[in-house]
Symmetry: C2
DNA sequence: GCGGGCTGTTTACGTCGTAAACGGCCGGGC
DNA sequence: GCCCGGCCGTTTACGACGTAAACAGCCCGC
């Protein structure tokens, strides 16, 4: 494997020893025996990480666990529900991350920073799962991916309100924060996915250029080196800090971050 | 600059007479006959809009066109390729939108505003397709959804560079803009999808509350009315203008929008 | 008039999700 | 000690799916 080596992204899976292994480690000493929902979900995450989402079928997942497909249905009512469980299992890894706290001990900015990086770590650890996190319908319309559990929504809102945000501002911040995380991480993860896919199919000829005609896009051609640079980590940091500054303004001026609307 | 006008969202499908009907209207006078790729893709978009992505199968799409499934394979090599074509067809509606221009006639801010609203209009017109736009692997890793065509990437970069952005700043702006659009629109569209799904299954009992126990989340309960408010349009506007202000700063100060990194 | 190439149909295969019936095993009541 | 009900994984089966391959009607240039 070729390591990209920007200067050691602190959120990259191998870059630190955080969460991201909680589930598979949860198998008790008994080892191979004893199916249960938790073990099935863990195996599904593992399987998707290794083979991709499209490769996950009930039969193959069963085989991966040394069992027939139908055995899974004792613990999982359907494949759809299994996928929901996978999403939940993956975001639940946040609870195992020692750097992310449910309560803000060092201010709301520190809280949001840690939370954002925790989610980013999960996204990078499970790039094939993250699109699922992004697109599965949430429990309620106002629960927004990627923070899909009520417990985190509660935690988020309390943290901000306790820090002096108005209710409206806290809700507004929740929305802005969700959009930011989702957009950045989905793009980052899918960019890596494309790179990987392109890399692991060596079609005989080193570059099987089905390439479209680039001659009509001279600027794209000229900037391709720049476009190809992976600055995900820096961009993420930059955009996150910008968002926090915006929120800081909202907090200090005590206004709802709305403009031009005179209704209230 | 155009006024936001929060009542009557200007990007909602019925709110204006823009694009979004280009493809299906492309059927020539001949009416029902004559299969071709374009007509198949148009029908697929229509089908997904009406029945949802999960309902799209080759057989059903064939039936929708009055034809057997296998007939489609004369024009479309596989279902995967069909989905790629659907994504392309949908974003190509941008070309039919009279409010979106390939070249900036009134400055880069106007250009980016129009482009953003054009994409938003498409997302709202095809909420079931947009997740596909967001998650299908793009042609190259540096082509970022939702602006997935080289022609628009070229247009974007040229517009900004001609307006005085450095090459680095233009690329950086492209990334920030893509993340912003993707995050906001994916969340907006999926929020509406959930609302619609919840609405169109009346399970006998009006509210078939499979509801989790909310008593542990008092803040969520208290803020639910606020959380349920749909302020998508205002949020979009606010975040877009904020992004443009950020870019304006970058442009005026002539610096790459990086902070705290002393390398250059 | 006729033969070849389009175009849509028929048939067929392997895989999928999952319902239903089945069977072995194991622990508690007699 | 024995038996029996419930748990848990297997077997079998069905209809739908994506798609390969063979086929049939039609129309156009010769």
């Amino acid at each position: 494997m070729s390591e990209p080596r920007e200067d050691a992204d602190p959120d990259s899976p191998e870059g630190r020893g955080g969460a991201a292994a909680v589930l598979t480690a949860a198998t008790p000493g008994s080892g191979r025996g004893a199916l249960d929902r938790r073990r099935i979900l863990g195996a599904a995450v593992e399987f998707i990480d290794a083979q991709g989402l499209a490769a996950l079928t009930m039969r193959r997942l069963g085989a991966h666990l040394g069992v027939e497909a139908m055995a899974l249905y004792r613990y999982v009512p359907s494949r759809e529900n299994l996928l929901d469980g996978v999403v939940e299992a993956v975001i639940d890894e946040l609870y195992g991350d020692p750097d992310v706290h449910l309560q803000p001990g060092h201010g709301w900015q520190d809280y949001l920073q840690r939370l954002a990086h925790g989610v980013r770590r999960i996204a990078l650890a499970h790039p094939e799962v993250f699109p699922l996190v992004a697109t599965r319908p949430p429990a309620a319309p106002w629960v927004r991916p990627p923070l899909r559990s009520l417990r985190w929504v509660e935690s988020f809102l309390v943290a901000l309100i306790d820090s002096g945000f108005s209710q409206e501002a806290a809700v507004s911040a929740y929305r802005a924060y969700s959009s930011f995380l989702l957009g950045h991480l989905l793009l980052e993860v899918s960019q890596k996915g494309v790179a990987v896919n392109a890399e692991d199919k060596p079609d005989g000829v080193p570059a099987a250029q089905e390439a479209v005609d680039l001659s009509q896009y001279p600027t794209v051609v000229r900037l391709e080196p720049l476009l190809s640079l992976d600055e995900s980590a820096a961009e993420f940091e930059e955009a996150l800090e910008n968002l926090l500054e915006r929120l800081e303004l909202v907090l200090r001026e005590g206004r709802t971050p709305r403009r031009g609307d005179t209704r209230d």
